[in-house]
Subunit: 267 residues, 2 copies
């Protein structure tokens, strides 16, 4: 079920800048037992993304109402919200009078095996890299070709997720997840000041770590740093926390800190 | 007038990956006096872009027919062709059975003052940079947020175009044009192996230079190299060649090589 600017529809204008230039932002949100997970945080990030891309503030109250009306009677679903810069004439110039396009959609919850959460997932290091651009770093925008190409490297493999490096060979994130490592009792997650998506679950984990006195740092991370870790796990809003059981051939055990953070996020 | 997969329409599915991820390529082509400029070259680049993004080969014969039918009786128009990876379920994974979306559209020719061609344009150096990613370099894909943000720097200025550097501070191109400089009788255009769009008019100019014994190189270019040039000009399919009359405060004169190449491209 999908609403486009509040009306039931599954099409958009072919002049929408979301299509023409990937000119917009999106959120992927979990609805569990009829409750919208971290809705405020997602709405805040959506607003921040719009601001970074010089788009008008999204009408949060309208989004709330549309989401509530769509979710009525639903239990476990994925909610996707897209805000684009709307239609314009040909050309990159941002129009003076931006009329954003708002898409709100519910889709069934993906069918991930529960062992991904309990035993962990196999991941690989992708060849495709993330270009560095601080102006776009952290934003969940619609320019996602890098992830599309990296994700394709997993095709016909047994790997569940692929890790991406930036063009300076620092490990940044998974194609659809953020990355955490634990070394000597200390939590580390890659610095996203140059590229990557600043995930909501990443922020939640960082907050929980701080509240629970788990030492934590945001830092540059090489593949060697990562492979030298004691524990590794992935996060996103849909999956919560997935321990990593191996990167390529190298095995990892889900350890105490991963376990504790899973408990703290109620997994 | 617009055809979506051969049918008159101005909408696409909101599940189209062109919208969701900027997952596709496009061409902007000139129709002058009813003749399609460099049509074969554009179709070749479209096919090459699809190949680079692991999309199916576009059906060139169908595109030709659709373009011919749209163009009937038209004289001066801009033809835009977009090919996206089509619809898929949520997630970056490229679907096994890709059904691309084909959009063909005619719009009126933009109303550029003729003095841009004769006397040249004022350009500025943009703050927004191009991320480096060799896997996407050269392709005219739909991930264009960098250009959108850079283009916006021109707002409320008298500059006609903005030049963009990559994150290594090499000058790469304009937001909608390719860049050429002339120094001591030698033509230079920036290396696009890390980022940028390999424009059709850029290729035409390179070819004409070679045929006409104008020494030419593709090289890395710093802002200082650029400002030390004798002549500078911009190219794209719509504008042909625009001499640059100033970059910020620094003035340039349209010189002999710019003039010769303008003649050779029949401007």
């Amino acid at each position: 079920m999908m609403l486009v600017n509040g009306k039931q529809s599954d099409t958009i204008s072919a002049h929408d800048r979301g299509l023409l230039y990937g000119d917009g932002v999106f959120e992927t949100i979990v609805i569990r037992n009829g409750k919208i997970d971290f809705f405020d945080q997602h709405l805040q990030r959506l607003a921040k993304g719009c601001e970074s891309l010089l788009m008008p503030k999204p009408d949060i109250e309208t989004i709330r109402q549309e989401v509530q009306s769509l979710c009525k009677g639903k239990t476990d679903q994925v909610l996707k919200i897209i805000i684009t810069r709307g239609q314009s004439e040909r050309g990159y110039q941002i129009p003076d009078n931006q009329q954003t396009t708002r898409i709100v959609e519910l889709t069934p919850f993906p069918d991930y095996p529960s062992e991904y959460t309990t035993n962990g997932v196999s991941v690989m290091l992708c060849q495709h890299q993330l270009g560095i651009n601080p102006a776009l770093a952290g934003i969940k925008h619609l320019n996602r070709l890098e992830q599309v190409l990296a994700r394709n490297e997993l095709k016909n493999t047994d790997f569940t997720e692929g890790l991406m490096m930036d063009t300076n060979n620092h490990v940044i994130e998974g194609t659809m997840t953020n990355l955490f490592a634990v070394k000597a009792g200390k939590l580390i997650t890659p610095d996203l000041s140059g590229c990557g998506v600043a995930g909501i679950m990443r922020a939640i984990v960082l907050e929980l770590a701080e509240k629970n006195n788990i030492p934590c740092s945001i830092a540059k991370m090489t593949p060697a740093d990562l492979l030298n870790s004691d524990e590794i796990f992935l996060t996103n809003s849909l999956i919560g926390i997935w321990p990593v059981k191996n990167i390529g051939e190298q095995k990892f055990k889900p350890g105490e800190i991963t376990k504790k953070l899973k408990e703290l996020t109620h997994q």
